[in-house]
Amino acid sequence: MNIRQRRRLLFAAALSSAVLLAASACSTSAGSASSSANASDSLVVGMSLPLSGAVADVAKAGYQGYQQWAADVNASGGLLGKQVSLDVLDDGFDENAVVANYNKLISQDKVPLLLGTFSSLLNAPASAVAERQNMLYVEPSGGNSDLFTRGFTKLFLAQPATTDALPDRFVQYITALPASERPMTAAYVTQDDPSAAPAVDIFRQKFEALGIRTVYNQTYSPTTATFDPIASAVAQSAPQMIIQGAVTDDGVQFVRSLEKLNYNPKFFFQTQAPADPAFPAAVGGSNSDGIFTAVGWSPNAKYAGNADFVTGYTQKFGEAPSEDAANSYTAGQVLEAAVKAVGSLDQTALANWLHANTVQTIVGPLKWDATGVPDGTLLLGQLQGNVLQITLPEEAATTTTVISPKPAWQQ
């Protein structure tokens, strides 16, 4: 290699490195909402979100929920006399990146307030950073109950309940059925996810205690793409009820595989996935009808501010809010209530106030125990006519109809 070739090689290598570094930088620092992050007349709220990566679609709705909250707060005069601005970093759904981002927000950007990120996977390390730095950390998701066994005093979940309570309403529904209508057998299949897997295990324990025999029980990797063999094995075990710990597209893929096999369980419960607005279209026709899920929020719930949130969000973003958007908005409401009540940014005083008071939010009144676990319960939803209806509890129900047994798949 002569000198000319060597120079060209070095130049090209440098160029390639620059492209890769630029791409990498894009994935770790969105900063898209931080235009006024350092303005002295604004109160900056910092957060890291997986705006790229595997759950970017969920995070987008979550980010918009935060934006809607900030807009509403600012429209009503802001916080402590200042307009709220958001300092948002992108972690690409990476645990190391989320730690780096919250350290940066606290130590470098010196944000006075934090809000949480998405998923138990990310909230677990992010909340540890906040606790270590003595910062209040209100998280919109991260309902794995293990997160609240670490003795943290400044961690709060802005949902009605943790995943330990996720099975409650569906178990209540099955238990209330006449014995002749209850399923005799059940299959449990779940993604190896810190929220979904423990919830499915609780389902299994409760249903086994009810006398429902387990005929299949498997956990699959988050990278599983092909569900036909799993669905085939489930079908061969012939369960009358299927419980799936579905987190993202695995919910759709599993339903599609069952459709191909034309296997129809009498009862079908999935975590999370059916609440995705894209779910009904992705499983085709009216095949989502009769599928149960647990949700923390309903657009039709009568809680104060909920209707305004739905209207404002829809006008602002041109689409109806998802549960993830609502969770972000709720986290903002919790933070807002504490700051307004305390009247300062003293993190310990804010946490103490939240431990001692109830906050009215769009998911209902929230109250926490000493570990930050809310004392509410989730809602039981069922897809009916491709719309998620609330069937339990009665006071929050949006319909009195429950589709049972689940209709056969349309093909």
Partner: protein, 293 residues
């Protein structure tokens, strides 16, 4: 026995899909000695183009693939002439880095155009199956497999039976000798890259009705297609079929008879075994040392 047959059917069908996704990757390596790290991104881009044709024009993905293929082929020409060829002239290793950069850029571009929400197509056959006794043969996988057979057979025919194929073989085995008989290796490279990227249209079409996908789904597909190509033998078209089928069947059997959790580890275990026992892959005629020399 029915359960075993059903498992094998699923494994073979999904293996055919894997082969379809990997064909372009092995073709580029076989001739140009470039590991195209953007294969997954091209697959996802093709899937999105198919999705748009289906969503906005109602064109079935199987037909849409024939519209997307020339578009992808043209994109292949532009990217080859604009980036790959230049990088390759400097250093073959740099061309691989360039494809990696392309993958990142394509992912960002697809995210900008289509957003992060999961997309999929649902043509009539997406959830249908042909039932033979108690055995279900999903139509979607079956059609994807037919695509795989047609594409790989077509490529094998082009390589073995046409002037272009002979030119490709000559340019890959002896570039200087090829020039002496009037074959310009750079021009052949353009053709190969274009054909390779065009084939992702068919893989992308299959992906669009078999899976939900988002821009960063390319990460998973580049890993899987590389596994298939390494298993079958870098550069071997029959090898990519064998690699796909072995992988698909192994995944299905593991899922049903060992553990669901282990099924995603199967590609990597198989690669370790193949690299140990037969480093050149199942079908490649040359060892890696031959290839790199």
């Amino acid at each position: 026995m029915a359960a075993l047959i059903q498992t094998l059917v699923f494994g073979l069908l999904i293996g055919g899909v894997y082969a379809l996704m990997s064909t372009g990757l092995t073709l580029v390596f076989g001739v140009m000695k470039i590991v195209n790290m953007a294969q997954g991104a091209f697959l996802i881009l093709s899937a999105y183009l198919t999705y748009s044709l289906w969503t906005y024009a109602g064109i079935d993905p199987l037909i849409g693939a024939f519209i997307v293929a020339p578009v992808m082929g043209l994109l292949g020409v532009i990217l080859y002439k604009g980036i790959i060829e230049r990088a390759q002239r400097i250093d073959a290793g740099l061309a691989i880095v360039a494809t990696f950069a392309l993958a990142l850029i394509l992912e960002a571009v697809t995210a900008l155009i289509w957003g992060p929400e999961p997309a999929t197509t649902t043509p009539d056959y997406f959830n249908q199956a042909v039932h033979i006794g108690s055995i279900a043969i999903p139509k979607a996988q079956l059609y994807a497999c037919i695509f795989a057979v047609v594409i790989t057979a077509g490529l094998a025919f082009i390589i073995k039976r046409t002037w272009l194929g002979h030119a490709i073989t000559a340019a890959s085995e002896n570039p200087e000798g090829a020039r002496l008989i009037g074959v310009e290796p750079a021009r052949v490279g353009t053709w190969i890259f274009a054909i390779s990227i065009a084939t992702t249209a068919f893989g992308g079409a299959a992906l669009s009705f078999l899976y939900q996908f988002v821009p960063d789904s390319q990460d998973g597909w580049i890993g899987l297609t590389l596994s298939v190509v390494i298993l079958g033998g870098l550069g071997s078209i029959p090898g990519v079929v064998a690699g796909g089928l072995v992988l698909g069947v192994a995944e299905a059997l593991t899922s049903n008879y060992v553990s669901v959790q282990w099924s995603t580890a199967v590609p990597f275990i198989l690669i370790l075994v193949v690299l140990t026992v037969r480093p050149q892959g199942l079908f490649a005629l040359h060892s890696r040392e031959d290839v790199s020399s």
